[in-house]
Symmetry: C2
């Protein structure tokens, strides 16, 4: 949906991952990012956490304590803010007033001091906002193992709160302040309308490397004025994340800090049906996830891997992930080479249970602190999809380069053209059924090596 | 065991993967590669399969039909020679006379014509050797999806048989002829002696990219004069491969063509005990596996990932694989950066079930055609190792950079020195038990991108 026009159901694409818009529903992209939702204030500034002096501290706040939920990394080495946010959502049974985000340090592998810093920052923001500390959620991104200078962080909070504004500028400042290797600030917003009513969904995100389907964004904040509460909020968020942020990959590396936080103000008293709202959430999360891949470290092309004709959608997802996770496929795309042999090797590895990307789903945090499993989870267990080599077709764009598991005759010029642009569509047709899934990744280039062989400890 | 001197048990290292030599056993590296074993003849020449005109056809032959077995890729899109070799070993109940190998085309995804070509080449070699076609095994490497020009292949076989010789030169010509992106021909041999007797083990291999623990070499041929037969041969081979070729990674991509074939002549009538022979096999397979990593596409450094202190060896293997499979760890090693945060993120992902490398073992082919599972298999199921963040230590060389899951104070100069040489030893101590495993990989560099973004279809 790069054309930015309204999308009307039924059956039109809500995002690049194949989500569709329900009948009689209209999605209209809008400005304002996370502050497109009435009453949400945001801000960002340079608190001095980044040596570069660039913005590094952000806040997104609701006008009062509202419904909240989060999907967080399942990494066993989770960062202090991940643990604190989980505890706070459990204590409040799914409510929150604001989220404090910082770049410059991940506050991961920082021991008890790191936990104390995360807690102190929540207390400080809560004092300024006049809410309970448990109503503040926290998220960090940056170098793992590096402590956050606590006094610097705390000293920045009063100015941050003063800076926050309920407008597009405030939203942009927040999105800017959480960038690390991102080359642009990532925002999206949409209004959803159906015969029952309207709602707005806004969002911001950061992420460029260490991006994996098993929790695919470093940080994102999503807002809505719909009246969505626990336990529906947690399960809807988990499902939408599994189908958007859960279907992108840059390097297959899972972060210690990933979090998607949703704040739902409930200010909208005539909201659309739940299905329409989900389409709006899928649009915003899908647009942010797509931006993360487009801004993938070193990326010159976005690779859309479409697995179709699988026995089930779950099988299709495993196959699409395996292809998107293949360094050899990704270097071939960098080289503009329609190397379908590497695609079939990756599909075959998935069919042997050796999926190129870890078969693992992100999980939502329910207010009780127990992870909740979205529908995405059943699609991503340690599943071995059915693959019949003699039925496999591979297409680059509209050009069939492999037919029934062997070379097809095709025009080399047309195939090269399909690999030339900024978007490459690679379709694997398993020839077995109606299951389908789309996973987005980027090409693997010299730029990725340069960024990561030189990124400082 | 790079020092090439004899290794005497008990307890000394038989290879880089931590295998030990039994008491009263001596391993003495020797020359001659696959032909170090009495009576084994080998040869290689340029049959015209590679456009470059370089050698591309090889044979390894026993003096008569002998015991044989193979461990092959589990990829669902397996190449024609993989299928044919499996069928032949089933038909002969684990016997073989020779193996025919070619580079230049993988004969994978080549349909019924490709299967016919593989079969015709076995028939042609059998005629020359005076054996049954089922006593000839075949293996191919090269571009996937490209047919082998059948007449060119068949025309090369008479000269190939005439060229074969039972000496070091013949062995070297065979090793040369199966190179693709390899920068050198890979050979190893050892004599094994214990109070019961002596035996010789020889081997050759090729492989440089598309190297994954779930079958980690493109092709290898191992020979011995020990009297090893089915079913012991199949189970010993499967175990040894799981602990050597099964513990290396270049890019985490599983090939369609991987095969390790063992020919055991039984000419040696006073062989050592089985344990000593296994140590000899582990030495040769370990040395070849190590060479594959050292020659990994674009590699400038070999990374030895040692996971120690795990609850079990199986847990240690999953953790070591996850770290070795992390593009971010491998780029950090390329940059000489002791970035232990990326190491902990990879360990944590393994602890979340999201292992960086697919949890999957290679399988041996029993004469009945059914895959046999070595002891390596139980170590590599979809296992989630126990990880306690507060107990994790990370060392580069002897320098502890992370202690109890947080930054240790260390001398930056010493840490940098530990990352400077051609071999980097990275140890993750889980602090939970006695389980340990070593996985070898190489750094991820601009060279890998150049090779694979430009490799032709």
């Amino acid at each position: 949906m790069s054309e930015h026009g309204p999308v009307r159901g039924a059956g039109e694409a809500a995002n690049a991952f194949g989500a569709t818009v329900p009948e009689a529903t209209t999605l209209t992209p809008t400005a304002g990012g996370v502050c497109a939702v009435e009453g949400i204030a945001a801000g960002g500034l340079a608190a001095g956490l980044k040596p570069s002096g660039r913005p590094d501290l952000a806040v997104v706040a609701a006008p009062r304590t509202v419904a909240a939920g989060a999907v967080q990394t399942t990494n066993a080495v989770a960062a202090a803010p991940v643990h604190l946010t989980r505890r706070h959502l459990a204590a409040t049974e799914g409510r929150g007033r604001a989220i404090l985000l910082n770049a410059g340090s991940a506050n991961a592998c920082t021991g008890p001091d790191g936990a104390d810093t995360a807690r102190a920052s929540a207390v400080a923001l809560a004092e300024r906002l006049g809410c309970a500390p448990e109503e503040v959620l926290v998220a960090s991104t940056g170098v793992i193992g590096q402590p956050i200078p606590r006094e610097t962080l705390l000293a920045g909070i009063p100015a941050l709160v003063a800076d926050a504004a309920p407008d597009a500028d405030g939203a942009r400042r927040a999105a800017e302040a959480i960038r690390t290797t991102d080359t642009w600030a990532k925002e999206a917003a949409v209004t959803v309308a159906d015969p029952a009513g309207t709602a707005t969904v806004g969002g911001l995100a950061k992420g460029s490397g260490m991006i994996d389907p098993a929790m695919a964004t470093m940080l994102a904040v999503i807002t809505t004025d719909a009246d969505l509460r626990h336990p529906t909020l947690a399960s809807v968020l988990s499902d939408v994340v599994a189908r958007t942020f859960g279907r992108i990959s840059v390097d297959g590396c899972q972060s210690t800090n990933d979090a998607v936080v949703l704040l739902a103000t409930g200010e909208q008293h005539a909201p659309p049906a739940l299905g329409a709202l989900v389409a709006g959430l899928e649009h915003v999360c899908g647009a942010l996830a797509e931006q993360i891949v487009r801004d993938g470290e070193g990326a010159t092309r976005t690779l859309h891997v479409h697995a179709v004709g699988a026995e089930t959608d779950a099988d299709a997802e495993v196959v699409a992930r395996a292809v998107a996770g293949s360094d050899l496929v990704r270097t071939a795309v960098a080289g503009g080479d329609p190397n379908w042999g590497r695609v079939l090797a990756a599909v075959g590895a998935a069919g042997a249970g050796a999926t190129g990307l870890r078969a693992h789903a992100p999980r939502g945090t329910a207010p009780g602190g127990e992870p909740t499993i979205g529908s995405g989870d059943q699609a991503t267990g340690p599943r071995v999809p059915r693959v019949v080599p003699e039925r496999l077709d591979v297409r680059f764009g509209a050009v069939t380069v492999c037919r029934f598991g062997a070379a097809a005759s095709f025009d080399a010029g047309q195939a090269a053209a399909a690999l030339r642009g900024p978007d490459v569509h690679l379709t694997v047709d398993l020839g077995l059924g109606e299951g389908r899934a789309t996973v987005l990744t980027c090409d693997l280039t010299h730029g990725y090596i340069s960024i990561n062989a030189e990124y400082t400890t």
